[in-house]
């Protein structure tokens, strides 16, 4: 019997693009937790995080054929697509002026995850610790733009307005921060 769990992400995406529901279920099992966690962290609301997670996987079902390996590994591509969708929700909220009183993500919380317990947890906590350490090692002004851009969903122009800084300065901070994160992660494959 074919065991879908043995297939690589890229193979699963190919099968999803051809309508294999079993492949989607395995892909869901692999990525539902990181997508849901990111959505919950960025949106800070359980119900909306569930809705957007469902939406992201339904979108994968419909548009898996748009996966392009030249835009990243399946994991990097899918997390980017998910992140983009979460930002859409944040932007629509902002338009509806429903989040004006939200406290921004000033610092990432460093509490270890205790909500799930699997064999992968220790390894995952190491990954998490590594990226949090890398973020913490950035100069304050660079960490600030990364948090505003990635976790708050602001564009570079919006960050410039929010901080009262020239757009060029923000672009430079983003670029330098990404270079340093890349170096700190030692080009580590996320997959």
């Amino acid at each position: 019997m074919l065991n879908y769990n043995d297939l690589r992400d890229e193979q699963l995406i190919t099968l999803i693009a051809h309508g294999e529901k079993e492949a989607l279920e395995v892909f869901y099992n692999r990525y539902a937790a990181p997508v849901f966690s990111l959505a919950k962290y960025m949106l800070r609301e359980n119900g909306t995080a569930e809705e957007v997670t469902q939406d992201i996987f339904l979108n994968l079902w419909l548009k898996a054929s748009s996966y392009n390996p030249q835009r990243g590994t399946p994991r990097a591509w899918f997390m980017s697509v998910a992140h983009h969708r979460i930002i859409d929700v944040i932007k629509s909220r902002k338009r509806a002026a429903q989040s004006t009183n939200q406290v921004p993500h000033e610092l990432l919380d460093l509490y270890p995850s205790s909500h799930i317990s699997t064999e992968e947890e220790a390894h995952r906590n190491l990954d998490r610790e590594q990226i949090i350490t890398a973020l913490a090692s950035l100069p304050e002004e660079q960490r600030e733009v990364i948090i505003l851009a990635y976790f708050e969903g602001y564009s570079q122009s919006e960050i410039a307005s929010k901080l009262g800084q020239p757009l060029g300065t923000v672009k430079t901070r983003v670029r330098l921060a990404m270079q340093k994160l890349r170096a700190a992660l030692k080009y580590r494959e996320v997959e």
Binding site: L2, Y28, P69, H115, R128, L185, E189
Partner: protein
Amino acid sequence: MDCKEAEELLPAYALNALSPQEAASVEAHLDTCPWCAALFLEHVQVAAALAQAAERFQPPQRLKDITLRAVRGHPRQRERSRRSFLWKGWRSLTAGHLAVGTASIAVLLIVIGLVLGLRMSNEIDDLRQENLELVTQVSQLAEDEEKLTDMFIEQRFVSYVIASPDKQVLPLQGSGTVPGAQGMLLVAARGGTGILMARGLEPSSGDEAYYVWLRKDGQPVTVGRLSVDEEGWGVLTLWPDQPITLFQQVWVTAEPAAPESPSPTGRPVLWGTIAPR
């Protein structure tokens, strides 16, 4: 947009922090520039790593049920059901019948064993032995079935690539090492996977095997062993870790069958140039 402009915007593009207009410009540039596309791969890996900083929560089981139900109810699923009629039929013929057959044999043997066990213990031993042999045979059949399933999946990938109108067809040249050797590399539309087909090669032997390599900046990466049949034909599906179009050359070399060499030990019997997309 030129490469310099694109390189400045790539970090923010990976963070989804560009305006829609800027993002569209970068996307258009990446479609035509493999070098910036390769640089973008590094940025998007960093962005994916950032997602891991969020505290991990497990979504509720009902979310999975709801999501899969939504997928099931979508028209694509119905289309797929029609398409996969043969696939399902094939699976039921193999897996279904095997499972039913195995269960039936096991139940039958148990019943017979119980009845005869009252009178003829020696025959029970014989039946146990027979049962063991049957289980072994069924186990072998299951292994064969697994191989067939893998072959079937492989063939489906091959057919998807061949049927795609956007595939790249790259001819492979012989180097004269094996006279008459010919081949081609079909690269799938997105450049991630491909199929290498060759003919005119010596059939695979126990001592020597053909290996396929992708080369970038002179560095080879092996992507698999090419089995060649009695007719001299060989087909290999390529699933490299990076898109094929990021490499510059493909080589087929003859190597000792075991152990696998980290790099080619001789001249290629077939080789070709990969055109960047």
